[in-house]
């Protein structure tokens, strides 16, 4: 039988250690200070270099370039999403030949740089000019914009097919069996049981893919499409003013950050039933 004879009297909480400047704190403050100083310097410089002539000349062009970028990405991601469905199905198919073809497609487009794919299509298809003219496709492939759209669609389709496949395969087998036990048809199972769960898994990778496409789309500037990057390069080559690049960076950062935040909100909203 053990009873405490003496109780420890209540004591105040230990004192909060006094704030000291450890080397790491000094480093952190210095680095953050450097960023802030760089930011202020940048803003001051942009204000100082603000030239109303340049803004009226190149401002609208920047905005039209931005519209070009967003249109290009929007169309190619949408078309890529459509094209990715048969590729993902091919990849999951039990038919050996089909799955190998789909695998080869995905491997090629994920294993090579987008810029090399774009060059292969834009410059390379010129080698087959007579054949393409005979097919009536030359009108399409003559234009840099169409080539970029074509290359981006094929590229993003490969990535999206992998996202889709991963998401569908992440749905556990029990879900299929449960649906079969309820007597649902294959289409009903896919449409009402598998897809809603898969899409939640795929949500984040899809967002990342869109951001990657927005950043990747800058390379169309090299094949003479005047997107945001193209307009920036054109403005720089005429003015030799480095602030054109700074403005482009600001535009890109704002788009990417906005998209990332929207996507995070969307994800939180769509997965609120999964929170415990």
């Amino acid at each position: 039988m053990s009873v405490a004879d003496e109780l420890i009297p209540p004591q105040p909480a230990p004192p909060v250690p006094a704030f000291t400047w450890t080397p790491l704190r000094i480093l952190g403050a210095t680095l953050l200070g450097l960023w802030i100083a760089a930011g202020i310097a940048l803003v001051l410089w942009l204000v100082d270099a603000w030239d109303i002539d340049k803004v009226t000349t190149y401002g609208p062009k920047f905005l039209s370039g931005l519209a070009t970028t967003l249109t290009l990405v929007g169309i190619s991601v949408t078309l890529g999403a459509v094209l990715s469905v048969p590729i993902a199905l091919g990849r999951m198919s039990s038919n050996r030949i089909l799955s190998w073809i789909a695998y080869g497609y995905v491997y090629f487009f994920r294993g090579t740089p987008l810029i090399a794919q774009l060059f292969l299509i834009y410059y390379g298809f010129g080698s087959f000019r007579t054949e393409l003219e005979a097919l009536g496709l030359w009108v399409f492939f003559r234009d840099a914009w169409n080539c970029a759209l074509f290359a981006f669609t094929l590229n993003t389709a490969a990535y999206q097919a992998e996202i889709l496949r991963g998401a569908i395969e992440s749905v556990t087998r029990g879900q299929h069996e449960g649906a079969a036990a309820l007597g649902l048809t294959r289409f009903q199972t896919f449409h009402q049981i598998i897809m809603p769960q898969a899409m939640i898994v795929a949500l984040r990778p899809y967002g990342n893919e869109i951001i990657l496409m927005i950043k990747g789309s800058a390379i169309v500037a090299i094949v003479t499409v005047f997107d945001l990057m193209g307009e920036t390069r054109r403005a720089y080559s005429r003015t030799f003013d480095f602030q054109t690049y700074i403005w482009a960076a600001v535009f890109y950062l704002v788009i990417v950050e906005a998209l990332r935040n929207i996507w995070e909100k969307l994800e939180q909203r769509l997965t609120r039933h999964l929170k415990r």
Partner: protein, 266 residues
């Protein structure tokens, strides 16, 4: 006679013996004389092979720099010190949000302007040219480190706190705990993510060709312009990148198996 030059020459000669494309045992020597890809003055094989080596060198130079910066960034992101965390997060936000191409241009032109200003301030009149290889390495390291810091941070989160506490209980200093206990486990967890980043890095090196570095894409591009066989040469460029991706995935799966085996033994 300068010893360094002759040493460099000898090394170059030694390396050219093992050149898998145009060396004495090179693959491209099997091609018939006068084909588009043969070595020497008639074909483009040696030019393309040189570009291929530039691509590999660039990626291999970027990797250690990017990994080191990325490791320090991820360490900064998990300290309790708010200012350090904020500084690291600003870095990641910027270099993950900017298109790689824009980063490359900004580093290339920005460095040129900065060097010119510094040279003028110091009283030099003549212009300096920024080496596109150096500019490319810097730009790719910035991008790579931003992504690597995210991969490493999530790997750090997967290591339980008890591992640190055990290290301290054994009397190890924080630095030693990190080196002997945390990092070996970290490598095992972060390896798949880092493998992905390496693949992305290889593909990003192709972008450096736009600032004039003679890498695979640029060399094949020159060949395509001269010979008017654009599809053939850009196809070769794609195949070279594919070969690089395949080789890396083989190497990475080897490393992963060996690392996993050492984990089981312990």
């Amino acid at each position: 006679m300068e010893p360094t030059a002759s040493l460099g020459g000898q090394l170059y000669w030694l390396a050219s013996l093992f050149d898998p494309f145009c060396g004495p045992l090179g693959l491209l020597n099997l091609l018939p004389e006068g084909s588009l890809l043969s070595c020497g003055d008639t074909g483009w094989g040696d030019e393309v092979a040189r570009g291929f080596f530039v691509t590999i060198t660039l990626a291999l130079c970027t990797l250690p720099i990017g990994l080191t910066i990325g490791l320090f960034l991820s360490l900064a992101k998990q300290t309790e010190i708010r200012t350090l965390r904020a500084a690291a997060n600003i870095y990641t936000t910027i270099f993950r949000g900017l298109p790689e191409l824009l980063t490359i241009f900004m580093i290339y032109f920005g460095l040129q302007i900065a060097v010119r200003e510094v040279a003028l301030a110091l009283g030099y009149e003549s212009g300096f040219d920024i080496n596109s290889f150096v500019a490319g390495t810097i730009a790719l390291s910035l991008v790579f480190s931003a992504y690597a810091s995210e991969v490493l941070s999530s790997a750090f989160k997967a290591i339980p706190k008890g591992q640190y506490e055990a290290g301290y209980a054994l009397g190890l200093r924080p630095g030693k705990t990190m080196r002997l206990i945390i990092l070996p486990q970290l490598v095992r967890i972060a390896l798949p993510g880092l493998g992905n980043l390496w693949m992305i890095l290889i593909k990003d090196t192709a972008l450096i060709s736009v600032i004039g570095l003679g890498d695979t894409l640029r060399q094949t591009g020159i060949a395509a312009k001269v010979t008017k066989e654009a599809f053939f040469f850009y196809g070769i460029a794609c195949l070279l990148f594919l070969a690089l991706a395949m080789a890396s995935s083989v190497v990475f799966s080897k490393i992963e198996t060996s690392v996993r085996r050492s984990g089981v033994n312990r």
